[in-house]
Amino acid sequence: MKHWLVGFAPAAVQPWIAALISVAAILGVFAGLFALTTLLERKGLGRMQNRYGPNRVGPFGLFQPLADGVKSLTKEDIVPRSADAVVHFLAPLVLVVPVFLGLAVLPVGRNMAAVDLDAGVLFFFAVGAATELSVFMAGWSSRNKYSLLGAMRALAQMISYELPLILSSVAVIMVAGSLSATEIVQAQSGYWGILPRWHVLTPWGFAGFVLFMIGAAAESNRSPFDLPEGESEIIAGYYIEYSGFKFALFFLGEYIGMFAISGLGITLFLGGWTAPLSFLEWVPSWIWFFAKLLALICVFIWVRGTLPRLRMDQLMNFAWKFMLPLALINIFTAGLWRFMPPGWVRWAVCALLVVGPYVLLGRALFQGRKYGARTYRFADT
């Protein structure tokens, strides 16, 4: 469709028009998805917590995101007197711009990646690095103890969980033999019978997908890893001193970051835009990508409604003692899978290599800890 539209323009400006259309499509579609997701999240959480959720604006509260947008645009922009004005102003921009850049390499449909880079996955992680700096800038420049605490928590968490995240995608890159997002999707096309050749349907791919999604939840500061903004502990974390539109930008950046990293997970493990069953191939490819994206977002909302927040030491132990070894073993398993002849022996060996370390490591980490009924020091007496 893009080529059809570009065809109307004179030849000299065609590359510019093509680039402009791609950018406009990314900005429009993902910002629209952001509005949809905020509503979905509030409605879904409301349902899980036995309340209505937003239901005042429009039918079933459908226009709530619109009202929120107008509200944040018209609010007063407050900057604390002792804040570092320049850094305080730049922080939301440093968050939002790279996050949108990351979306550019994701193939959302057949031949539908905005830029098809040879090192696309590397590009994604490289621009993702800037978000950590932005979180620090926001937390430090606000001159607020809570926001600085939130920024320190966020940095520690993001550095720790980036390792399992990248290592679990290394396994996919090894097997696909490419860093390009479109080629990784191509490697997963084709079917075994009616089942697709997605990476998630192999033992190492399944383990990698679970590790990746846990890391993704931590990177996008989603519950149960929302310590950097734990409302009951440090009020709102690193963006506590932001109001009005800058606050909305942080909100937007966080959600777009979640979409981007879910999109990467879909590209790496869930076959990108390929259909889940071979007889469903006639459905347009981009519908599959966005269906998978919405499904993953629903899982994120579900997890947020279900799990309590972790403690800082639990968070660190989980990343370094549990996820990192499993991710390293998973790379080895993926290599084995690549070079063993197809057949049930390969399945058995690789499945053993995934389940064995999981059980052993889990048991070992629980050794010497007594978990009993929770005791209350004052409430019981």
């Binding site: 690095a129 700096l133 600085l148 320190m152």
Partner: protein, 166 residues
């Protein structure tokens, strides 16, 4: 030399000067991050995609964060009251100029220079990976060993402190 090159060069040099001369340590660290990003852009202009992205990932993503962490953990981020220009700055400038002249002369008189002029070679990520795993496997292993040793050393330093406290 295109306009893009001059923009990137201006960004690198400007932020590097800012990183040295600003009073506030955190501002220095942030402008150093801009310098790193600018170097990544310079690599991208030379058609070295892999090196450019790796530069941004490692330096902006890890080294800059590490510096910021070190600043926050060791001393207050209050700006220095007096000037930070050290009295020996003239000597430093002279030595820097001398180094620049020597290394520039060495590069200009190198035999390799005519060979690399003209169209820059484009290397795909796959070629780089193949070379690293075959021709340059020994340097790669040595670097890996070195980093592991550094990691273990850091852990040992951190552990001993804890034992002494008990």
């Amino acid at each position: 030399m295109s306009a893009g090159f001059y923009l990137v060069a201006l960004m690198i040099v400007g932020s590097a000067v800012a990183a040295m001369s600003l009073r506030n340590l955190v501002h220095c660290a942030l402008s150093l991050a801009v310098t790193f990003a600018g170097l990544g852009l310079a690599y991208l202009q030379l058609q070295a995609q892999f090196a450019g992205f790796a530069q941004v990932l490692v330096y902006v993503g890890a080294v800059a964060i590490l510096i910021v962490f070190a600043i926050l953990l060791t001393r207050g981020s209050e700006p220095e009251p007096e000037a930070i220009l050290s009295p020996g700055w003239l000597w430093g400038l002279g030595i820097a100029a001398l180094t620049f002249v020597v290394s520039g002369g060495a590069i200009l008189s190198s035999k390799l220079l005519p060979a690399i002029q003209g169209e820059p070679p484009t290397a795909t990520v796959k070629q780089i990976g193949d070379q690293l795993m075959t021709k340059y496997i020994l340097p790669l292993e040595v670097v890996g060993l070195l980093l592991t040793a550094a990691l273990i050393g850091a852990v040992i330093i951190a552990m001993r402190e804890k034992e002494g406290g008990q």
